[in-house]
Structures are given as C-alpha cells and as structure tokens.
C-alpha cells in the first residue's frame, strides 16, 4: 500500500478496503454520514407506512 508517510489515517481505509476507501475526509465524518442516511431512510419508511 502506498504512502509510507501516512500514519494510520484514512489513507489506510477500513473493513479491508485498501487505500482511501471512502469519499469522506475521515472516519468520523463517514460515521455521521451513515447516521444521517439512516435517519432519512427511517423517516421516509415511517411516513410511507403511515
């Protein structure tokens, strides 16, 4: 994997996906993105099923 200078950052990726395996600037932003998407899905489903 590239970029010897990067120390354990997002360049390394997660869940075994190799370098820069995310469109987010860091893991925290991605976590918040996942929470927001979930919120949108849940609200949409709850409203549709009413």
């Amino acid at each position: 994997m590239a970029n010897e200078e990067k120390f354990g950052g997002e360049e390394t990726g997660d869940a075994g996906m190799g370098n820069k395996a995310s469109l987010f600037k860091d893991d925290r932003a991605e976590d918040i993105g996942a929470i927001i998407i979930t919120l949108i899905i849940v609200v949409a489903i709850v409203l549709l099923k009413k």
């Binding site: 010897e4 997002e10 869940a15 075994g16 995310s22 987010f24 996942a34 929470i35 849940v42 099923k49």
Partner: protein, 380 residues
C-alpha cells in the same frame, strides 16, 4: 490529509458510475442469479447450487466485486468507477445502524452477560498472545501493537485506530490489513459450511463467528451466508450483537496496547510527537455504534411497531421495510467491499506478520468454536 480531500458532496457526482454498476450488479444477483441457483442442480448433485455451496446474494456480491477488480479490470478499479466503490464503507455502516431495528434492549440484556464475558476474555487473551508471539517472531514493537488490536477486536478499524498511538508506519497497518483479509476471506467462505456440518443453531453460529472472525464486514457476510434471513434470533442478529460489543472494546484496547508500547520505549524516544491518549480515544471512537444503539432504543420503545420476536406476532410493516432496505444496502456495500479485495495484495502478505496473524487468527477461530460447542446449552 483531510484538508486535501475535496469533500463528500463534491465527489458524489463522480461516484454515480460506480454506484450504478454496484446497484445493477446486486439487482442482477438478487432478481436473476440467486433465484436461478436456488433451483439449479449440476453434476448430479442432490441439492441446488445455493444449498450445495451455501451461496447467496451476499457471497455472490463480494465475489462479483472481487471479479471486477481482479479479473475484469485487471487488478484495479478504473478511476471512473472507483468513487462509487468508495461508498461501500458508508453503506456497510448504514446497514449496521439499520440492523439496530432487529434488537430490543431486553434481548441484548438476555444475551449480554455471556457475550460480554466471552468477548472480554477473547480480546484480552488475544492481545497477550500477540504481544508474546511478536517478541518470539522478532517483530517491530509498532507492528506487534497494531497486530495485537487488529487480531483481538474487529480487524482493520482497530489497526487504524491503534497506529497513530504506537508510531506505526502505513506499511505496518497495510500488513495488518492484508493479514486480516487473507485469513478473513478464508473464514468467511468456510464458516457457513462448518456451521452447517456441525448442525449449529443460529445462536451458536452467531456467537462463534461474532467472536472468531476478525472483520465486521466478514462477520456480516459469514452470518448471511449461513442464514440469509434477517430478523431477531437469526445468525446475523446474534453475530452483530457480539461484534458490536467487540467494536465497543476498541478504545479500551487502544489504551491498553498504547500503554504497553510506551512502557517499552526508552525516555528519549518517548519525547517525540504523539497524540494524547484522551484525545485519541475521543477521536477514534466509532460513532456509528451510537447510531446503532439509538436504533435499538427506538425499536425497544416500540417506535416502529411489533418487532416479531418471541411473541409470535408478525413484524410490523415498518419493521419489514427497514429489514428489506437493510438487505439491499448491505448487498450494495459488500459488492463494493469485494472491489477492494486485491488478490495480489493478499499474496504479498507473507513473512513473519502474516505467520503470526495466521497462528493467532486460527487459534482464536478454533478456540471460539470449541468454547461455543462446550457451552452449547447456553446458546440455544
């Protein structure tokens, strides 16, 4: 690094081609390939392909992602498509939060004590084993520290979370990732067969792989490959509760291994730049776990209607829709995950770190199975 990132929303349009490929792939798998395999027998086999090889949309999704990267695109996802594949981690995390709709607090508490005791024991013993073997194998302390958390908790996120605290190079983390993946891919494919051969229940199988398999995505894949159903009491539901408890251990394990690392450094080395432990723990805690817990809370409060657990009632329409949505999102995420599994990278993960990973990973995998078999009566 962060300042160089163009940001999520700016990159979103460029993610569309890859995302379209992922969505179309999963639709083809779920609408045509999986149903066809469920009815097709070859070479005089008594069971259809899906039963004979325990194949389902999850494994087919990962395999298609691997096929794209390693065969069709010759070892690299093309630039035009790669941003779409980079959404896979987001989709897996979203799926895990939605997974919270399968649990109620009463079910977690019921399953909790044994899970907490066993997972804690496995995390602590694995860390000790890696630290000891690291010395025996003559590994660098940073490499050993990264491997200790990678192999004891949930693989790659733990390796990444540990690395800045122990002065690890990217190559150390890369080795840990390749080691975890190499071993994880194997366990992901053989676990469903072993589980079926041993006649494990969903509870027993979920407890085993939730403890023994190293990576969150692979736990998910192995659970769904054993039983594609998503609902309370399924292999997926059990394995993910165990896995989430393991994820929660990340800050504690980072703390412990960091202490070990710095305790072994001489005073001159310890004067270098390093992040404070407190800020490291706050920074690296996986926030999506809080989303999962919030989902469990809402489900426990009855926000989405009947979950359809022991009562025998059918789940509410809202709960059913959440589960169907979750299956699709996981499916998309795992096609993307397959797209990041590089066969050459796995081959390159030779040497001492890989041998250590193999010894510890195999020991943990087998020990977890033995413990589950020994305590079979507790997991029914």
């Amino acid at each position: 690094m962060s300042s160089e990132s163009p940001g999520f929303f700016r990159q979103l349009p460029s993610a569309l081609p890859g995302l379209v490929l992922i969505v179309i792939t999963m639709m083809i798998i779920r609408i045509w390939i999986e149903p066809w395999m469920a009815h097709t027998k070859i070479f005089g086999m008594s069971k259809p392909l899906t039963d004979a090889f325990h194949l389902n949309y999850i494994l087919l999704g990962i395999m298609s992602g691997m096929l794209y990267r390693n065969i069709i695109f010759g070892g690299k996802i093309p630039d035009m498509l790669v941003d779409g594949f980079r959404l896979s981690r987001l989709m897996i995390k979203t799926g895990i939060i939605l997974l919270g709709s399968l649990y109620t607090f009463s079910a977690i508490i019921k399953l909790g004590f044994m899970a907490i005791a066993l997972i804690s024991a496995f995390v602590v013993l694995t860390v000790i084993m890696v630290l000891w073997l690291g010395k025996t194998f003559g590994l660098d302390r940073s490499m050993t520290a990264v491997l200790a958390n990678a192999l004891s908790i949930c693989g790659v996120s733990a390796a990444v979370a540990t690395s800045p605290a122990v002065e690890a190079k990217a190559s150390h983390v890369a080795y840990a990732i390749a080691t975890i993946l190499g071993f994880g891919v194997l366990t992901m494919f053989i676990s469903p067969t072993i589980g079926h051969e041993l006649g494990l229940t969903n509870m027993q199988y979920g407890a085993w792989i939730g403890t023994g398999i190293l990576n969150t995505g692979q736990v998910l894949a192995a659970a769904l490959a054993f039983d594609p159903q998503v609902g309370p009491g399924t292999a997926l539901a059990v394995a993910e509760v165990w896995n989430v408890m393991r994820v929660i251990a990340i800050p504690f394990a980072v703390f412990a291994v960091t202490l070990w690392y710095w305790a072994g450094k001489d005073a001159v080395d310890s004067m270098g730049n390093r992040q404070s432990l407190g800020s490291l723990l706050v920074e690296k805690f996986p926030v999506f776990v809080i989303g999962f817990m919030a989902m469990v809370f809402l489900t426990s409060m009855g926000t989405f209607g009947d979950v359809g657990v022991e009562s025998g009632h059918s789940p509410s329409a809202t709960i059913m829709s959440l589960r169907v949505t979750m299956q699709w999102i996981f499916g998309f995420g795992l096609v993307g995950l397959g797209g990041f599994i590089d066969i050459d990278e796995l081959r390159q993960a030779g040497g001492a770190p890989f041998r250590l990973g193999l010894v510890v990973g195999a020991t943990k995998y087998v020990a977890a199975l033995l413990v589950v078999l020994l305590l079979k009566q507790y997991f029914v």
